[in-house]
Symmetry: D2
Subunit: 393 residues, 4 copies
């Protein structure tokens, strides 16, 4: 493939607010870059912190109009809903336990929600949020960002097209090493809330990264989980939540084919930074993708040599191309994948705004994907408590 | 490391017989090359086939004295035991169901046995063989050949030295793709006996390759399995034995540290030829080794960059060097690793012959490793039948 | 490294214009995304095409005020220079032969120039531009974008710190395959101008990608080229410019150490998309970086195992961190590297705007780097015409 | 490909002698293992060292009959030629400067010679040896062992079949790092003779490894070198011979297509153990092979995804299969490749012995390949002395 540009079609930017993401937060900055990359959003309001001074300072850093820099997300929802040019969408980038209440305030006022995962910290919150989202006219977008990678889209399209036949196996893993030692007690902020059940919910590694791996496996394979058996551990002394999980899975039969899966997530595996990988094997071939080399997709048609499909290179199709910005051979990364979720959301929001139907090619993770993640965590915890009994989901 | 030779010390070659391994067999030829590489063995007798004409023809092909080319292993054992220069050792390279009876005949006559894995086709045969081997003065060597790879030895040594701290996780996998379709019914010979319970035993992929993965994980980590939970499948229509297995493991506590494991073996994963891999993670670091790139060992001391240790290169120690023949940067492969099992066996046999103690550095898989493999297969099958219940081993 | 955010400090956005980059252009869209990512620029004017209708349509697509959408860059320079809130900087993203005249109009009116590479299409234009840039108070930034990759910065810093001792060898390559066949005659737009001497200049692959490889080698090693010997080819029938070049290099002595280099660039090497790679070897170690895996830097301290340094992972230092946005293990790519050039430019422009000195840590390619690229191309062409004679630069 | 054995056809073993290769030598042991692997040779005599005591001790170590353990190769040639069961072939594994005289003594007595590379230490010796070999009825086999790797054979076959179209580019490299520092003066034996012009000849890295890279490029591509331009260095203080070489090459036109090449060999590139690599690009595709992963061949048909062909896997053909011993997915290495040269030699010797024509499929490097290597070294040295002038070969 030679190098060719793509046309950017201009719509008036979506007015975006943000809850969480004040100074020093990691994921807030990621959401802002993702929102900015394709120029479909403009950040105009925020409740960037619940500490008023910090909220104010963070708003100033980001150039927000001080009158639209809030320290309370509910106040923000109420005020913005009344403004003539109030926000049309809000990004929720707080720790998990705040997701539900924040999302509720915006959804019920018809403001689209783009929410970080996992959906909530408890399954009961998730169910309430699901109800709210279903009833709301506003969109609910969950940033299971890895589904935005072009080669993940490519894999999904190939499987849907039957390129590997009927799926038999979905092998998922997401090892990390950053919690190998107890850094939460010495106050490392990202570690502290992620290992605290009151903020994270019932799942540690399962909630933080296991949901990503499971979501990716399901997204790519097109399969639905039926039941799972899990063995969870908290290897690090004094840690309340799981930091490693081994999960066996059984998927619902599809087109007469039953499939199995294996999922490993870990925060205590030295040598892995964000080793998310998904491998899918069917009756006619196999596909392998790993996040650290995201522009590659390995494809083996059974009985033929393994092929390395590159983003926008030969063999890469339209599902990848529509979420890709540059020619093959020039790598795209995490931010571009994340930005794709925002851009897909923008396409849906534009359609809403214009009273049009959303292009069926638009894909973003929904409240239902969020529910599945919560059910997965809950099932993992239950199964592990019952010594690995199979739990239907 | 610069390029330097090693000294070969000469002992009179060990007179070797072979059971199985006639024309067209894969593993027989491998054993012969392995035995020959370091020049410690000389093949002088064989019961290469149970079909007399084939046995005779195969013996002629290999240059055996016709009087020592047998079609019955028992006759061979009896005759060779009486010869002045009869065989000192026998390699048993038949399908699994023959291992027990063949090994018995030689062991009870004091002839050392080098036997292919898995140990036998049934657990009860295995127990009888274990008893025989324990009582015999002859050595019993099982060719879990992957333990012969220098970088596998290196990994084991590093873990024993505490380089990754206390082990928490042992992740094993051995995917293949050659049984993705039903080739056994069309008579493919290697597939036919491996998928036939009367020849292979109760385990399909678990017996053929799962035992290798488990053996490797245990060898490298130094851990003992306590219990496992397994989910086995026969994905291919009409196949009696498992062709895919997902196994969760719990190891016995060691030095106050409990550890967990995950094992995946498959014969239906397109894109994998012999994808044996073992990854071990501890409190202070991680190690990763994969058979397709056997001269590399990835080592991550926690908090430091990942290091690529190469066979005989910087960071590679004596455990690897003593089973390695050439300088770093020139790859060794499967045959060299297999030959190391033979050479370790030869060192033990020479010691026996000379009435000396075996050098404690000598390592080869024993009857006990074989028993563990049989117990593993049995536990996998039992657990799967009980819907993944944990089975103590 | 755990996951932590970085603080974005807000300055008023730089008002940016663009010359070239109308609908369907590849590199214009890249510049716009790069300018947007860190939110330091706002595109407010453009001469996006010299065809008035296309200029107008492209401006509308990008949301430009129609009064600031020009079809003539000179008119744009004149008008914008007079506007109260006229552009502060302009991005020039046209084919090479337009660079000089466009840059001239803005530089002489004190508008900062961010210009695509190579500098110009002729050496004489380059010299004139150099004079203008030296005399102007405005900044001149050349988008040798690969120098923006964090691990390229890391490599440069390590070499400057002496981590590989005195440099002996700099091996550069940039193979592509998109011009393996004659696609220019069938009107492929990107190919057409790149293979046309009147638009591209004297160098084909040497100018388009050889300059990148050379720039990268010099940037990372800190060495100055002394002379080169080149063998250029136009393998494809009917092609006027080189599509492959082999170049031997000799660098100026540094700290008593002379160094050599080898450079290969090609547009006819099937299997390579954008295979830019630089490898540097010194008296105490070696470093290897390749663009297709840009988040990795291979480092071998002589006599120790090879280490894989990852962006922001262990062993990655401040030079990489200051141009990196997200934690280790989440890949960044081409756009982020490109954006780093814009952000470094922004830092310099902010300093100018505020009457402050530019932070010495700020690095961007300058007019001098552009001159070196032009001299390199000229020397390659001369040397090749003289059958590979050494040409001093 | 499933796992299947190959039939070994038995011929009476070839009686082999060895010159050089006493205790502590690296390459002698390699030759012996290579000779032994397929069981076609039996070592029965040796002049393993020119020091009588060492020769004797080394012979004893290898189990030679003391009466056939010589300290003088000429005496050995004379005596063995007269013995009824004297050696049929001799392996010459001394430093380079001994090759000519040793080979002469055996060739003129009709004893086949298997000689290490480079052919000799001087071009004049090489020419004399070429004359002798051409006149002799005995075979002359040069162990350019890398041509024995199955995937190298595969690459050669694919190019001959036109799979990549007409060849345009042959890129060769062989970097090492073991001579990064001056270890020869402290007496490291392998380094000492290799850096000594009186033993090695006029080329250092060019002779020791450059010849391998060049031989491989020519072997795989099927092209003939026409001229070269070289820049040689001795980076290490006090070293008389080159330890790094940059070489530009022009090949003779073939089927109307001219081709170019680039060769880099180095002994001072930290991070490379034996980094031999060859990459060939043609009008329709590209091939890439690297010695450290010898079981893989990367193949890109232009415009299609890159394919990973594995030894004996899908896409691997008969040229690889006939020099391969085990199924795909089980790696073969350096010794197996080396053994292939011996086995090809054995096939030719058997044919001679039986008065049959040699199977045209048999391939081994000949005296002519040796001459080409010598001419290459000579041209590199000449060109470098003439400041990189093109030297016709």
């Amino acid at each position: 493939m030679a190098i060719e540009g793509t046309t950017e079609v201009r719509q008036k930017r979506i007015r975006l607010g943000m809850v969480g993401g004040g100074s020093g937060a990691f994921i807030g900055a990621v959401h802002r870059m993702a929102a900015r990359l394709d120029d479909h959003f403009e950040l105009v309001a925020g409740a960037l912190s619940s500490t008023p001074e910090k909220a104010k300072a963070s708003g100033a850093e980001l150039g927000l109009d001080p009158s639209r820099s809030y320290s309370d997300f509910k106040e923000m929802a109420i005020r913005e809903a009344k403004l003539k040019n109030g926000i049309e969408a809000v990004a929720i980038v707080t720790p998990n336990h705040v997701h539900y209440e924040a999302a509720r305030e915006f959804l019920k006022r018809g403001i689209h929600v783009i929410c970080d995962k996992p959906l909530t910290s408890t399954l009961s919150d998730a169910k309430k949020l699901k109800k709210l989202a279903d009833e709301s006219d506003a969109l609910f977008v969950l940033t299971h960002n890895y589904t935005g990678y072009p080669m993940v889209r490519q894999a999904r399209e190939m499987i849907a097209n039957g390129d590997i036949g009927a799926v038999r196996l979905v092998q998922m893993e997401y090892p990390q090493d950053w919690l190998t030692e107890n850094i939460e007690s010495s106050g490392q902020k990202q570690a502290a809330w992620r290992t605290d059940p009151s903020k994270s919910g019932a799942g540690g590694s399962t909630g933080d990264i296991g949901t990503h791996a499971y979501n990716l496996g399901a997204f790519v394979s097109g399969l639905e989980l039926e039941e799972l058996a899990a063995d969870l551990d908290s290897f690090v002394e004094g840690r309340a939540l799981d930091d490693n999980a081994h999960v066996m899975m059984r998927f619902k039969e599809k087109n007469g084919q039953r499939a199995k899966g294996l999922l490993w997530c870990s925060q205590v595996a030295p040598g892995h930074e964000n080793g998310l990988m998904v491998r899918v094997y069917g009756t006619k071939g196999g596909l392998e993708w790993t996040q650290k080399d995201p522009n590659y997709l390995w494809y083996t048609p059974f009985g033929e040599p393994k092929r390395l499909i590159t983003r926008n290179g030969a063999g890469s199709g339209p599902a990848a191309a529509r979420v890709s910005r540059i020619p093959s051979g020039h790598p795209e990364g995490y931010l571009e994948g994340f930005a794709n979720i925002y851009t897909e959301a923008a396409r849906a929001i534009f359609a809403k705004r214009n009273g049009e139907a959303v292009d069926p090619a638009v894909i973003y993770p929904t409240i239902d994907d969020g529910m599945k993640g919560m059910v997965f965590v809950d099932a993992c915890v239950q199964s592990s408590k019952q010594n690995g009994a199979w739990i239907k989901v």
